[in-house]
Symmetry: C2
Subunit: 210 residues, 2 copies
């Protein structure tokens, strides 16, 4: 299996955590976003959308979209499970995962912020305010859904909500957001990063970190 990744891509970070939790070995191919390697012909041939991550399966098929990749991992490598079996509990985990993956992350994506700078003249301060605004709304939606367990929905096993929250916390730190209004989310980040599966997936721990 081959993972196309960039250390600072939060979507790639999610997949790195999922692969680590499931103990799946892979080769990693580093695609530099600031270097424009995602727009180069070889990567575009693999993923015409030019977004990270992509996962090349042993059969040569290439999957994109972090949560579609993780869904495939969950089906093909079910242990340990990243989602509960009970439909309602599963929906509760997906709700939180989707607040991050649909309500925060896409609006804060690199290409959106670049578009904002280019087309609306957003300077550094305006970009930071934009990033923080959507994170605040999302974290406000998530915090009351959490019971205060060690991980998002369990005291013993991290799952898909944690996989989405931890990279988002990295981005929150990167953009200078004070997390004190959301103590349960912040505590989950600390608990997760004490586990090698999360710590080894962290941006700073990647060979391409710069």
């Amino acid at each position: 299996m081959k993972l196309y990744t960039f250390w600072r891509s939060t979507a790639a970070y999610r997949v790195r955590i999922a692969l680590n939790l499931k103990g799946i070995e892979r080769e990693e191919v580093f695609v530099s976003l600031p270097g424009g390697a995602h727009r180069a012909p070889d990567y575009t041939a693999l993923n015409p959308q030019q977004l990270l991550p992509a996962l090349e399966l042993p059969g040569g098929q290439v999957l994109s979209q972090s949560l579609a990749i993780i869904d495939w991992l969950e089906a093909a490598h079910p242990k340990p499970a990243l989602l509960p079996a009970d439909p309602l509990e599963r929906a509760r985990v997906l709700e939180v995962a989707h607040v991050v993956a649909m309500d925060i992350h896409p609006v804060n994506n690199l290409r959106v912020v670049q578009h904002l700078a280019k087309n609306f003249g957003a300077d550094d301060d305006a970009r930071q305010a934009w990033m923080q605004h959507w994170m605040r709304l999302g974290f406000d939606a998530i915090e009351p859904r959490l019971a205060g367990t060690r991980f998002a929905f369990s005291d013993t096993e991290p799952g898909l909500a944690d996989i989405c929250l931890v990279p988002q916390l990295y981005n929150a730190h990167r953009w200078g957001l004070d997390m004190s209004p959301w103590p349960k989310i912040a505590a989950i980040g600390v608990a997760c990063l004490a586990l090698p599966a999360f710590a080894d997936a962290a941006p700073e721990a990647q060979p391409d970190a710069g």
Copy 2:
């Protein structure tokens, strides 16, 4: 079951289609976005995120996030299936669903466009250009993934990709996007809307359409 919906909400439109395809009866509660009913205390108590849709289950639990709701429907009411059983085929459907639900829709959400107008002075033309820009990128990513079947991944059964594409096509039409560069996507829209499950879920067919 009680669905909180607004005729023009494309996320609510997805859930209306899924409920119709599975033949699930529900009461509908209309929450006017232009009227600000999503920010009123009664709806905020149900869904503190103030977004549509929300589904109130017979046991009183309230689910939010359209794709989490549809995941619950798929688990609790498995027939007809909206996703293939094979993990790789399932990932292919999710990839397309997530391009719409993660790469296009969140960036084009009403609250993002309102924020753009308020904070960056985006006028009507700038808002239309913004909407069309993200739709173009998303449709460019989806069109080559489609084989030209009647529905997105089947000649006989629509599924989650169709459920995401059809409301996005409604939005494309609303914002004046010429669909001729993406004939496979456009044809899927026509095929789907020939089915009552889709046609009855369309914005114009809703009792609260104005």
